[in-house]
Symmetry: C2
């Protein structure tokens, strides 16, 4: 029996489960001692509305340039809370491990999770670990759920895109998706494109406190990319949008890979970027707020809400042609997050 | 392309994902309309401490006598919250689907989840769906995370077992594990043993309000069974326990299957039972409270806390022999929940 690998018994709930928890998982993620291991975490109630979200992560490969499934899972859930204008406070971690997965890789993933949580000021307070037989999962799947608090009365959500609003993206698009797909395909690019996986809560906190009611919508364009996230918002708000292709920030290397493998950066997943809808008179200020943070250095206005409508999105290309933007259809990039 | 099956594109985040959400998942689980689909649910903050928990479910088979992976996932997370003395309020659902999984079975599972949540008065408020290629998962895995509120100041947790406490189990043990293993093995038993999957929050609410500070520990003996849960509590509390084998409620059919396949009911998972540690003078009252609810009809005192100690558990057998009880070691029953 190889002591370096995850065994089915590590998911039994018995002695091996406790060993894995006590020796590896809990020391890696949390400061909870053995006497405090209960069925649920008990938390002091914050005052204010709560935000609550969950995401499962099945990204392939598990390790990719710029991150791994662990920090991706932590940052992703933090960002979902931040997109509601919430301050992320607590997180749960649910692991599904394939029998035979390496404990060393697990430890590395958990360390990344802890680091990502610490950076964002979030505490991992509860969790669960299951093990399934070889061939019944793909190495490791991670679910994270998170609780945050809204320390303000603003209504920030996808139904609040208003006619005239400026549409901002907080940085270059397509980095995460291209990093993962290039890593999966073993593409030799000469350049390493890194995932943008990052927690956006500090950026959101600044926007909320400095822009107040001028801030209408925040959304992180993950699976399906900027196009799909904008289409969701347009439909939720009953608004029509116009994008300027020239204004979309895309790294040269990302654009290059996309053109080689036939992807449109507008549909490629991001994990450290957000879309921001603000009153037009606050757009310049929003860009300044974003750009003083390294995570927002490439922020740009990419379009506007043209009016009430049926959720139609038009893209004005660099040569002046206008195209209709739809949601991603089908599986452009499976298992990107 | 078969319209009855889950496709990889259903996990893309694009149009197929939205179709699956709008046509199947959201109508099944929630009352959230398309305009309210955001990155996180926003919830009115309750007053009082919060409880927060998560569990992933990988049970095999997905359907078994007495339930399926869906109600199991809902009841399991409700019970983890209830075991902290909390009133469960909100739940998240994370689905990982294998490409080719049947939409009909998914719909059935989701309907069971909604039913279970409704029975317990819990709202499913947020979720996530991923799809992985065939052979990269086993049909369906479900993660549920839950938030509850503690409407009292009692400290109910695994470190509170006190010398003299009576140990109660709320009903017959081993039903869930035996139901799943029999169903997996296709055992012809002449009798159908059903899982005990059920939400225990109403039972806990009665115990909390009527016993108050006499209630010290609640724990649901899932993976690893009663023996493992008691060992956890004994270690957390630094207490020694004595159990009476004769007093353990075990259904005749469950005992029969256990003896045929070599299982000890003390180590078999339960999904609708709990262990209760109470002051000895409150034990009879606790039993009365439990027995007026159908979920607690077979409640029994099964032992006591003999004193401070190193977490040793002794079992007095029917013939008067005393055995030491340890945690489950290894994988007695993989994928039981």
């Amino acid at each position: 029996m190889n002591n370096h690998l995850i065994l089915l018994g590590h998911g039994s709930g018995g002695r091996l489960s406790h060993q894995l928890l006590d020796e590896l998982i809990i020391p890696a993620l949390s400061c909870v001692g053995p006497a405090d291991q209960n069925d649920a975490a008990v938390l002091d109630s914050p005052s204010g509305r709560l935000a609550f979200t969950t995401d499962s992560y099945v990204v392939d490969p598990v390790f990719f340039p710029g991150g791994n499934i662990g920090d991706l899972a932590v940052n992703g859930t933090i960002n979902d809370l931040a997109m509601m204008g919430a301050k992320p406070l607590w997180m749960s971690v649910g692991l599904i491990l394939e029998e035979g997965f390496s404990k060393k890789e697990l430890a590395e993933i958990l360390a990344s999770m802890k680091r990502a949580a610490d950076i964002a000021g979030v505490r991992i307070v509860t969790g669960d670990t299951k093990v399934v037989p070889r061939g019944k999962a793909d190495r490791i799947f991670i679910n994270t759920a998170g609780i945050g608090i809204l320390e303000h009365d603003l209504e920030i959500n996808g139904a609040r895109a208003l006619p005239g609003d400026s549409i901002i993206v907080s940085g270059t698009i397509g980095d995460h998706g291209v990093a993962v797909i290039a890593s999966r395909a073993g593409l030799e690019l000469g350049t390493t494109i890194e995932s943008d996986s990052a927690a956006l809560n500090s950026l959101v906190s600044d926007l909320v406190s400095e822009l107040g009611g001028a801030l209408h919508v925040l959304r992180d364009p993950t699976r399906g990319g900027v196009a799909t996230a904008l289409k969701e918002i347009a439909l939720q708000s009953g608004a029509d949008l116009l994008l300027k292709e020239d204004s979309l920030p895309v790294k040269t290397a990302v654009r290059g890979v996309c053109s080689i493998i036939g992807l449109d950066p507008l549909y490629v997943a991001n994990e450290g970027k957000m879309l921001i809808f603000v009153s037009p008179e606050s757009a310049a200020r929003a860009i300044r707020i974003l750009q003083r943070n390294p995570l927002g250095i490439d922020a740009a206005v990419i379009g506007e809400v043209t009016g009430k409508g049926t959720g139609r999105i038009l893209l004005e290309t660099s040569i002046g042609v206008v195209k209709i933007v739809e949601m991603l259809s089908g599986e452009q990039l499976p298992r990107i997050c």
